[in-house]
């Protein structure tokens, strides 16, 4: 009897914690998004789904912009991270842990502080732009802060380790003999890369996209610190509706919409990539 109960007793405390403070709040948020009222008189559940229509129409620009910024961030990250993960996995040798540690160094500095550091670097009279303007290489009016370049740059910087690590793990798992076999069968290095290494690395790339697209498109720290009026992201809208204007129904509706879109995106991509992957393997 004790043997059967043991796993339940072990899971129970932590499981209840997750249930009460993760699952239930999600349900509360769904319910809040369908309520009407205000912070002073309280909210009543009325099933007022029109809040969704109004919020999405009202903040369509920010919603789409966030998804676009998130997608661009993930794409740039794949291009930037793949060569590094590839080099560490195949040529890192005994220094592999050291290189991975160096890639993870930014995580030892607070997220907000890292982003503020970028703000200092990119500011108009900062260490980067000031010398260039002095030398006459850039016009006096040139600035980076407040532009999409600065926001996406910040997102790319902050989430880079989340792309390098999963790709590295996937590449590290590849048996070198598989690549050798391809070479023995007269595949050129490029063909071996394209038809052996690349397909085998795709699960890592997918994990990396999941781990960067979700936090990047729902981020508001980078847009707030590095962006301007033209780069407002949906995270900033949700944050200020929750914390400043206490417009809970509308904020919940937007947060719920964002999460649904992200989840659908993730699953659609998994399905597309998954079947594609299987078909490629089957074709060979």
């Amino acid at each position: 009897m004790r043997r059967i109960l043991a796993p339940y007793l072990l899971v129970l405390p932590g499981g209840l914690w997750l249930l009460l403070f993760f699952v239930v709040p999600m349900a509360t948020m769904l319910s809040l998004s369908l309520q009407e009222g205000d912070i002073i008189n309280g909210y009543v559940f009325t099933g007022h789904w029109q809040t969704y229509v109004e919020s999405i129409q009202g903040y369509q620009t920010q919603l789409i912009r966030s998804l676009v910024y998130g997608a661009i961030t993930s794409l740039i990250l794949i291009v930037l991270s793949f060569p590094v993960a590839y080099w560490i996995a195949f040529y890192g040798g005994r220094r592999k842990p050291t290189y991975l540690f160096l890639i993870l160094l930014p995580f030892f500095v607070s997220f907000v502080l890292r982003t503020i550091s970028w703000r200092m670097i990119l500011t108009d009279d900062g260490v980067l732009l000031h010398p260039l303007k002095e030398a006459g290489l850039l016009p006096e009016s040139f600035h980076l802060l407040g532009t999409p370049v600065a926001v996406i740059g910040g997102l790319v910087y902050n989430f880079l380790p989340f792309m390098v690590l999963p790709i590295y793990v996937a590449l590290e798992r590849i048996d070198p003999r598989v690549v050798e076999a391809a070479r023995d069968l007269y595949a050129s290095p490029l063909t071996a890369f394209r038809r052996v290494i690349l397909p085998l690395s795709l699960p890592g790339v997918f994990a990396g996209v999941l781990m960067t697209f979700v936090p990047a498109s729902s981020d508001y720290v980078n847009a707030e610190l590095l962006g301007g009026t033209g780069t407002t992201m949906i995270g900033q809208v949700i944050q200020s509706k929750f914390l400043t204007s206490s417009d809970y129904p509308s904020a919940s509706a937007l947060a719920f919409t964002l999460m649904t879109v992200l989840l659908i995106g993730v699953f659609a991509y998994a399905r597309a990539l998954g079947t594609d992957d299987v078909m490629k393997v089957a074709a060979r």
């Binding site: 129970l12 993760f22 948020m29 060569p83 560490i88 040529y91 200092m120 719920f256």
Partner: protein, 258 residues
């Protein structure tokens, strides 16, 4: 061969880019700014290290961060170890659901988790503050601890436990004398991870802290009026301690493997 060299050089360029803002943060802890904006280099000074605790609000915020990190990582270590051990050792109904919830908790956007928790606390009539903040930090740390512990449980050589049983040890004795000591390093890594996640967290904290100021929240709130160089010094010290602990843990685990 040349291609490797290009990739090697590229790796170092990327690492330099990753380290650049950290160096800027460290450097400006030694800056002697004239106004309230610590943004342009004015001259070298060590005085901020001497006056580290001269900004009372900032010191309070750092203490609050440390208290929440200690409490939440301890609770999460206990709860997460339970889940991780059960998932790694037993096959039981509900294991799949537990896994799914953990995956969801790790991959959900922080913004949505923070916002939904605030909505939950408000509709329960609970005012956000230190307790809700700690609850939230435990919530997002549990899954990470459980994942780390489960990995160790799965890779555990069960013949050692069987040997203990053969030598007449009861299940209870075997667990505490054999299994638990083997799992302890994993529990400890999970605890460190939870501590690091907690002390760095901004988004969920911003939603659940109420009037409590943590280190990242204080920095966020003070950006517009200008950050005192003490922020850079504290950031530098947290960075140094974090790197030191990571290096020690790494060296020890490498030695024990050898």
């Amino acid at each position: 061969m040349t291609r490797n060299r290009v990739l090697h050089a590229y790796t170092w360029i990327l690492i330099s880019w990753l380290v650049l803002p950290i160096l800027v943060m460290i450097a400006f802890g030694f800056n002697d700014p004239r106004g309230r904006y610590n943004q342009t280099w004015q001259g070298f000074t060590l005085k901020w290290y001497g006056q580290l605790f001269a900004v009372p609000d900032l010191t309070d915020a750092l203490i609050a961060s440390l208290v929440v990190a200690v409490l939440s990582s301890l609770i999460a270590a206990v709860l997460g170890t339970g889940i991780g051990y059960a998932l790694g050792r037993y096959r039981f109904r509900g294991a799949g659901v537990t896994n799914l919830i953990m995956f969801a908790a790790i991959s959900s956007p922080e913004l949505v988790m923070g916002a939904s928790l605030l909505g939950f606390f408000v509709s329960m009539g609970v005012a956000p503050g230190g307790i809700t903040l700690t609850i939230a930090h435990v919530m997002f740390s549990i899954s990470f601890v459980a994942t780390v512990v489960r990995a160790r449980v799965v890779s555990l050589d069960r013949s050692i436990e069987e040997a203990a049983a053969d030598l007449g040890a009861t299940a209870w004795t075997t667990f505490w004398k054999v299994t638990f000591p083997i799992l302890l390093p994993a529990v400890f890594s999970g605890l460190l991870l939870a501590f690091a996640l907690s002390i760095d967290d901004f988004v969920i904290t911003n939603f659940t802290a109420g009037n409590v100021q943590t280190f990242p929240l204080w920095i966020w709130g003070s950006t517009r009026v200008g950050l005192p160089p003490q922020v850079n010094v504290m950031g530098t010290l947290i960075f140094a301690v974090g790197v030191l602990i990571a290096v020690i843990v790494n060296l020890r685990s490498r030695r024990s493997k050898a």
